[in-house]
């Protein structure tokens, strides 16, 4: 009997909307853990990509000396060359520099989104899972309401209320992932509380909050961490989608989603404006997803 299977059936017998996304994600491939070489092949490039991107975010000027917002009209829409590895954009700005300098805003956005989701979601999940009873019911109804509005629709609405910016788009995406985190943490709390050592602790007279701190939280950490990594990838995609619809980053800040969205006007005359920022998004999202999956696999071992 594996823990995933356990989770599935628990949820099913609960008879509720049952088996949230988190449980579905928990059931992702575990069998590959037998192939540790394969795991390494997946993890090393992912970590390498994230390390480079992290450096871009922290020290962009180390990688490019060009001002990302400096328009040189005479050099507009130049194809990739030795002088401009990624080419230039419609105002003659260096695209490589814009991609590098855009990293910070894109990553910060993703981190804010996940932080909002994690903090609010964990709080709701912990309270619901610990308090049970009427509090649990009420909180979970709230989560149901949030879940019944498709997350992206919710994010679009929230971002219009808050105003267009990367931070607001990030908060909107974060708010729409609160329900996912709440469900995961609640189910973790329920799972761990039902485990034998917690039962033993309870019968041994240990106080509830102490159990929560010593047993439940540490044991839920891995699942939460895996979800965090996956949500980071998703947040980047969603913030980029909001930017694409024109609800995200402000010009001239070179956020990746904004770069793609601007580039799409130039598919006929400058495909590189879409291609390179698009590749950056894809690579980073894949890396986050890979790491999330690996954490999950390791924790399931």
């Amino acid at each position: 009997m594996t823990s995933e299977n356990f989770q599935l059936n628990t949820a099913a017998v609960d008879g509720r909307t049952i088996f949230g996304r988190e449980a579905a994600l928990r059931a992702l491939p575990r069998w590959s853990r037998r192939l540790s070489v394969a795991t390494a092949i997946r993890v090393v490039p992912a970590i390498a990509v994230l390390a480079i991107v992290l450096l871009w975010a922290i020290l962009p000027s180390l990688f490019t000396a060009v001002d990302p917002n400096l328009a040189v009209p005479a050099q507009k829409l130049e194809a990739p060359s030795a002088a401009h590895l990624f080419g230039t954009d419609y105002l003659g700005r260096d695209l490589l520099s814009r991609v590098i300098h855009g990293t910070r805003e894109s990553l910060t956005g993703a981190v804010i989104a996940v932080a909002v989701g994690l903090v609010l979601g964990s709080f709701i999940g912990l309270v619901a899972g610990s308090a049970r009873g009427i509090t649990d019911s009420l909180l979970m109804r709230l989560v149901d309401v949030l879940l019944s509005i498709p997350a992206f629709l919710l994010a679009v609405t929230v971002v219009v209320v808050l105003g267009f910016s990367t931070t607001n788009a990030a908060i909107a995406v974060g708010l729409s992932s609160v329900a996912t985190f709440a469900r995961l943490i609640r189910s973790e709390v329920l799972r761990v509380s039902a485990s034998q050592y917690v039962e033993a602790a309870v019968s041994g007279g240990v106080g509830y909050w102490s159990i929560l701190g010593r047993h439940i939280l540490p044991n839920s950490l891995n699942s939460a961490l895996a979800l965090v990594a996956l949500q980071l990838g998703m947040a980047i995609l969603w913030i980029a989608s909001l930017s694409f619809l024109g609800f995200g980053a402000q010009p001239p800040n070179p956020e990746w989603g904004l770069l793609v969205s601007e580039g799409r006007d130039f598919l006929g005359s400058g495909f590189w404006m879409t291609l390179f920022p698009g590749l950056a998004i894809v690579l980073v999202v894949i890396s986050f997803n890979t790491i999330g999956h690996v954490i999950r696999e390791k924790s399931a071992q």
Binding site: M1, T2, N5, F6, N9, T10, A12, V13, D14, G15, R16, T17, I18, R21, A24, A27, L28, P29, R30, W31, S32, L35, R132, R141, D144, V145, L147, S148, I149, P150, A151, F152, L153, V156, T157, V158, V160, V161, L190, A194, G233, L237, A240, S241, F244, L245, G246, G257, V260, R264, L267, T274, G278, I281, V282, L283, V285, I286, N289, T290
Partner: protein
């Protein structure tokens, strides 16, 4: 069972009311309204005094709480009001936008299921490790490509370079291919990964060995045992995917210039067309809740081992330990 269904339906209605109210609160704090948008457009020829008259005409001058109840009452009588931007009755807008979105969602779902299923089964039964790795690598790649990027490149290549499909929806079957593929590719990774996990797990379970030992062919084993056991988590995921399908339609309908719910949502949100947004939120939530309700009710049909009690919420606390044993 009847009591359970009644409780679930009541709960669904309560969730819908709450979703509607949440949306109303969100939208009522917006800084502007469609009348200002219309007045301030260049060329509008309208003055602030005309705005007062228009607001009066649309009932936007009434206290916000009154507007809330007027709208809520309207829903029960089937009157969703008028779009403040287009002047069209919201009901007819929604009625027209729903079929293409449902059509797209179903087509996208089919693509997603076929693609996800095929990838999972192929990866699960691949004979060579290298092939297996390659197949396993596809879903994470699909999951990382933004839908809009996929759509843009699809149009560029298949519609313009190869001229195989129309770039702008013309109602034809060919016009549906691009949007459905884009949507299907977007939802396929989670479907593939969950099915793959269940397949691998079920394959390893003891009862499969028993069935095989009894002399059943592997094809028979696959269809009768492995797939049947793997389908349950898949079904749950489908309910959740439904929300993704509708959300994905916002981006895809914009990229492919398709008429539908997603597109009117995007337009209505940007123009703060309140009656339209409220109707869309209500409708999508209703669909989502209904689909998940049906799926919940389908569980016992598919897997008789799952019993539905009359008091599902109270059951949870102790139930978690026992039924797990029932599975394997």
């Amino acid at each position: 069972m009847a009591r359970y269904i009644a409780a679930r339906v009541f709960q669904a209605i309560a969730v819908l009311w709450a979703a509607y109210t949440v949306a109303f609160i969100f939208l009522s704090v917006l800084p502007s309204d469609p009348i200002s948008i219309r007045i301030n457009a260049p060329d509008s020829g309208l003055t602030e005094a005309d705005g007062v008259r228009l607001r009066e005409y649309y009932g936007l001058d009434k206290p916000i709480i009154l507007q809330y109840f007027v709208r809520l009452a309207g829903i029960f009588s089937g009157d969703l009001g008028f779009s403040l931007v287009r002047g069209t009755p919201v009901r007819s807008m929604i009625a027209a936008a729903l079929p293409p979105t449902v059509q797209l969602s179903i087509a996208g779902l089919i693509v997603g299921l076929v693609l996800g299923g095929a990838l999972a089964v192929a990866a699960s039964y691949a004979r060579f490790p290298s092939l297996k790795h390659f197949l396993q690598g596809i879903p994470p790649l699909f999951a990382a490509v933004p839908t809009f990027l996929l759509g843009i490149f699809f149009i560029q290549i298949f519609a313009f370079n190869l001229n195989l499909v129309p770039a702008v929806d013309d109602g034809s079957f060919e016009g549906l291919i691009g949007p459905a593929l884009t949507l299907g590719i977007g939802i396929s990774p989670s479907l593939a990964q969950v099915l793959l996990a269940s397949l691998e797990q079920t394959k390893g379970d003891a009862f499969v060995d028993v069935v095989l030992a009894k002399g059943a062919g592997s094809g028979f084993t696959f269809w009768h045992h492995v797939i049947r056991n793997a389908i349950l988590p898949w079904l749950t995921l489908l309910g959740l995917t439904f929300g993704e399908l509708l959300a994905g339609s916002i981006v895809i309908e914009t990229v492919f210039s398709r008429d539908g719910l997603g597109r009117i949502t995007e337009g209505a949100v940007a123009a703060q067309d309140l009656p339209v947004i409220q109707a869309v939120v209500l409708l999508i939530s209703a669909l989502y809740v209904a689909v998940n309700l049906v799926i919940d009710l389908l569980y016992p049909v598919i897997d008789p081992r799952i019993r539905l009690g009359g008091a599902p919420i109270r059951l949870k606390r102790r139930a978690s330990l026992t039924p797990a044993k029932a599975t394997s």
